[in-house]
Amino acid sequence: MSAPVEIVLVYQSLLGIYGDRGNAAVLVKRLQWRGIEAALRIVEPGQEVPATGSVYLLGGGEDAAQVSAVSALKADGNLFRALDRGAVLFAVCAGYQICGRTFTIGERDEVIDGLGLLDVTTRRGPERAVGEILTRWARPDGSQSLITGFENHGGFTTVGPDAAPLATVEVGVGNGDGSEGAVQDNVIGTYPHGPVLARNPDLADHLLERALGHGLDPLPLPELDTLRAQRFAHVRGRR
């Protein structure tokens, strides 16, 4: 009997204001439905980040929360140690931005050092990106999968040479240059909420397979297919 797979929701009260905690619930359930023992660990600021997690999650939040999260995660250090031993980090929106080299906060665009886990930099865009987003994600096996979500961010992100964009924007803003999100080793950052893993089971299973090191059986969920078809039709109809 192996230990349960740990899904770690990092600083939920700081970076969890857009329903992104749902990403953690989705990962745990998708493991449990397949008969794999899984446990959700919620870490709040002031508590030690567990070093034993398989997937770590960061969500959206406000400027001040970003600054607090960066300094707390650097001081704690366990997230970095977990990534060194092969854990996966999935970061959304503000969480994505803080994984980069630098990002800006406030009306005066104060530049803040990020965690340096992704070779990306974020600066304020010409206008806030708010609305449904649809992107094309090229999966590691070469096939394509559509990612649907809701973006809500003021920052535009430039992906540097050490990272690669996660997806290409079909409708919406994403990084601001036609690309969306970033991948570098076992760290993935992306803008959409939804929460994004609830709307995109392929992406959820990709994270789990990467963390576990093996493939997973398909998990048919007709309701989710209907929801995805609705969101695709909605966002494409509005173009």
């Binding site: 857009y18 600021p45 708010v130 809500n152 909420h193 929460p195 609830a198």
Partner: protein, 433 residues
Amino acid sequence: MPAPLERHAAPAGLRFAARLRLRAAILAGDAAALGSRLAGKGSGASIRGQVMTRIDPLAFRKLVKGRRIAAVSGTNGKTTSTHLLAAAVRAGVRDADRVVTNADGANLHYGIASALAKAPAADLAVLETDERVVKDLITHGAPEVLVFLNFSRDQLDRHHEIKALAQAWREALGDAGTSGPVIVANADDPLVVWASGTAHEVVWVAAETLWSADSALCPACGTVLTRTGGAGADASHWDCPGCDLTEPEAPWRVVGGRIVDPAGTAWDPELRVPGRFNVNNAACALAAAAVWGVPVETALRGMRTVEAPAGRFATATFGTTTARLILAKNPAGWAEALPLLETDPVVLAIDSVAADGKDVSWLWDVEYEQLAGRRVIATGPRAHDLAVRLTYAGVEHTVVPEPGEALAGHTAPVDVIATYTPFQKLLKMAGLR
């Protein structure tokens, strides 16, 4: 010191030309509202205000002048609290016609102007005021009392505006100085406490709140707030370790569903509107009524007549089905609404137009897991988003996208929780507005 509710000598005079223009604007607004009602487009409150403002751009300012105003703002509970406060004030004066209120929940400039225009002789106004209108009301209406209920995240796609709004309140209160309103505010909510920090006088109310997820950081300095006691527990207390912002001592408290007044007397509110959050709302309304000198007993007598403010908690019939309609606009509202559900099945209606919030990610911040064992009928344009959420929550459900169909043919009463737009549609469908 409580100010007794004496009639002002005379409303502050407007110059003749200004009065004439306002009069013309009101007549045109009345005609537009009547047209809207005849066309079956609702009360016409908003269109009345729009037409009035087109003819007299200063209508809002002129109409709020010369009255004694008590205003109610905050993210959740404004409409019910306004009804409770208006009923309390009516109970405290001999002539109930002295009190005007925007009872239909139209709480922007137009809606407020519209309500005031219909009652030129009323000298006491109890006004539900949208968070975005508070600054203007302080500047132009000089309210005597202003209730801040809470300041939680409303629509996710608007969240980044909340702190800016609180900042605007601070500035307006600071500018108003000692001529500004007495604030009645919820001491449990750090953002409310910070927003009230520039007011010359604040009466604190310690509510029993289920929701604290929106206030992890100090609004003043960004430090992570510390909390002692469980969320919602009587003993819970928040504090900022980084600056001097801390939960204030409150003379008014809600303890175990009873309201304790500054003298220490515990009152059983015995309201006809359900839920612990409405006891919090009642405590704030009692404290506000007390600023105007209405005794607790009198105020409660009035508040106990409030049943279904603007349709909230109304019992409606849809064919053979009897349904109780509950409004929940955001995760904080859902946290308070879900424990009220008494039926099986229940109907949950979700939409995502602007008034509901376009981003339905909030569905994942609501603990739908507590509905496990009950059957849910998911309805409304975003019923499938809810269905996926319920699947992951392990809650048995069916999807019936059309609300009319979802409510058809139940033999036992059903409870309905709806977001703003489907809630309004259901009220209309039931002939309640």
